[in-house]
Symmetry: C2
Subunit: 367 residues, 2 copies
């Protein structure tokens, strides 16, 4: 991802939030859920209580306590079972009650889809500043697929809160156990719930936090908004962009079970790509793009279907027959491309017996 050429944001007002929603669809790799509900909730919070304060880790003391937050569950459910808005406050209170420490700030768990937006609304309503950063640098489907896990940092105590303000606190023996327990609880709660996890001090947060991702997403959304003729050129101006194929969606199948949306889509090449056929497979997020039995791109790189005309991202639950798309890839944050990162979120972590090849080694970058 290109280095930030401007200072990060210090507030998120209505315009920034709208830009953020667009940026989140591009950066989520198809996942994270349709940001629409999160966008409405965040705009509502901004109008009621004012913009979100955005800070950096350096703005806090080393032993200040913070947590990451996001919804866990199937994005198809997230579009219908709407959060109450109180979840961030309940998470904060529960973490404070359990730990005996005051919470100083919060951050998004992942920068993608609805989870790039909801934590903003929660931060505003819980009166907490929002850290410009997250723990994935994109969206991923499972709880242990966060950067702290690479350094054996625990995701717990982890708090799950639903729209009824029911709270469940988990203290498992490991992050994979937490994923299993929390995912199951999410199913019982109706298919999605809100989580506060990876509570940690600022000192411990420095290594895992991927800084600047909120600002980046706003920057992407603004670039697309301000683009006159060529949104793809505008996008390439703010992100390292690798378009793989232009085409039309000719097939899509999804099944929602166990807190995930699994399935695939087939895109038939058009224009200069006529005759080509690419299959995308997803588990909430897009995992692989395959052509003629070979992987064009895989996790952890960010594979997104962008609308051919607007360059906005299409989340997996909105893929449908006839959509005109550009299959596009963005490089994953470096932490995920390490050997340990690939153990956690590489193709084999998802059951594909494929070696990861960085997108820039296989394809040409858009200029």
């Amino acid at each position: 991802m290109t280095a930030a050429t401007e200072a990060g944001l210090s507030t998120l007002g209505e315009q920034e939030v709208e830009d953020l929603a667009v940026g989140c669809t591009v950066l989520a790799g198809g996942g994270g859920g349709d940001p629409r509900v999160g966008l409405m909730m965040t705009l509502s919070a901004v109008r009621e209580l004012g913009p979100a304060d955005v800070i950096r880790l350096d703005d806090l003391a080393e032993d200040d306590y913070l947590f990451a937050a996001g919804m866990i569950g199937a994005p198809t459910v997230m579009m219908e079972k709407i959060p109450s808005g109180r979840e961030g406050a309940v998470i904060k209170e529960t973490i404070e009650a359990n730990s005996g420490r005051k919470v100083a700030a919060m951050m998004p768990l992942e920068m993608g889809g609805i989870n790039g937006l909801l934590p903003i609304a929660w931060a505003i309503r819980a009166r907490l500043p929002l850290i410009d950063g997250d723990l994935m640098g994109r969206a991923f489907p499972e709880i242990q697929m966060c950067t702290p896990h690479l350094y054996d940092m625990p995701a717990w105590p982890c708090v799950l809160v639903d729209e009824r303000s029911q709270a469940i606190t988990f203290e498992p023996v490991g992050n994979v156990w937490l994923e299993r327990l929390a995912r199951n609880a999410v199913s019982v709660l109706g298919g999605c719930a809100c989580s506060g996890l990876y509570p940690m001090t600022v000192a411990r947060a420095r290594q895992p936090v991927i800084a600047g991702t909120v600002s980046n997403a706003v920057r992407v959304g603004r670039a697309l908004r301000e683009a006159r003729n060529d949104p793809f050129a505008a996008l390439a101006g703010v992100l390292d962009t690798y378009p793989l194929m232009t085409g039309k969606v000719v097939e899509v199948e999804r099944r929602t079970a166990g807190g995930f949306v699994r399935g695939g889509a087939v895109i038939e090449g058009t224009d200069q790509d006529a005759g080509r056929l690419v299959r995308i497979e997803f588990q909430n997020e897009n995992l692989v793009a395959i052509e003629d039995g070979e992987a064009l791109a895989t996790v952890p790189d960010i594979i997104t279907l962008l609308d051919r005309h607007t360059a906005r991202g299409i989340v997996t639950e909105h893929i449908r027959y006839g959509q005109r798309v550009v299959v596009t890839v963005f490089p994953a944050p470096e932490q995920w491309r390490t050997p340990r990162g690939l153990e956690v979120v590489g193709p084999r972590a998802f059951g594909y017996d494929i070696d990861f090849v960085p997108v820039e080694e296989q394809h040409a970058q858009a200029r």
Copy 2:
């Protein structure tokens, strides 16, 4: 149940624990699980750390804090997935950490099966006195089927702990929600786990606690141990006993799913009962005894299959073809026979469209 004719216990040593194990099989209504594992763990704790201290609510201050504990899950799993013994201590620490209060004592959740024993072991290892009483007066399969629920008292904060010392704390909106969430978590943890629930002050505990049930169970076990020729006569000397039929088990089917053991058994009458056929249906505990399409007895009364020769109880997961049994019923504690009690644990709560008839109105008591 006959009134206690002697003062309650003040300690539980090895002999009392062995008698308690026998008494628990009689009083559990077929449920609560085979006490064998609980018995071994408790004897081990007594030998290592000394007898359990047994107290009454009156021995505590009104604002002293206490909780009830027991295993939740399928008894078939409880026989194999053995607790670590540390669970009581982890529950105590978690409740203290979450509530900010010291715990003064604990009690069994239910007086039956393994759950009449395990809390003794936990109390000894957690260095807590054990209250002579419980919250069911027998065994029942679901969390809301406890006396506090009759008075709208919350079972939460509820802590679930497994043998790996993983802990989950639930703060739901109601006891039925808690049953659903905890039961599901128990399945993910492997089929059974240990729970601490209904934390409350002594002042609040007075109404729901069914006092003296630990002493009663010890008394029943001792009566059977000391019986010379006729254990059934010995039993009738300490409990209001209603034998319904003597017979042989000719059929049993069980299925373990969703944290319960469901099924039924058919007993063919022998001796003076030749020609009769009685069917028992169970969900962990025995729910109904049916003959010729009519209910002989139902929950909340305690329906137990007693071994024909020893009068010891047979838990549902040990019922097998050929066993010689006496289908026996004991009256339920009065709290369960109230209209509110019947809503929670009467036949209709388990899906049977049957009116509850107290056993003493239908059958003759053993003398």
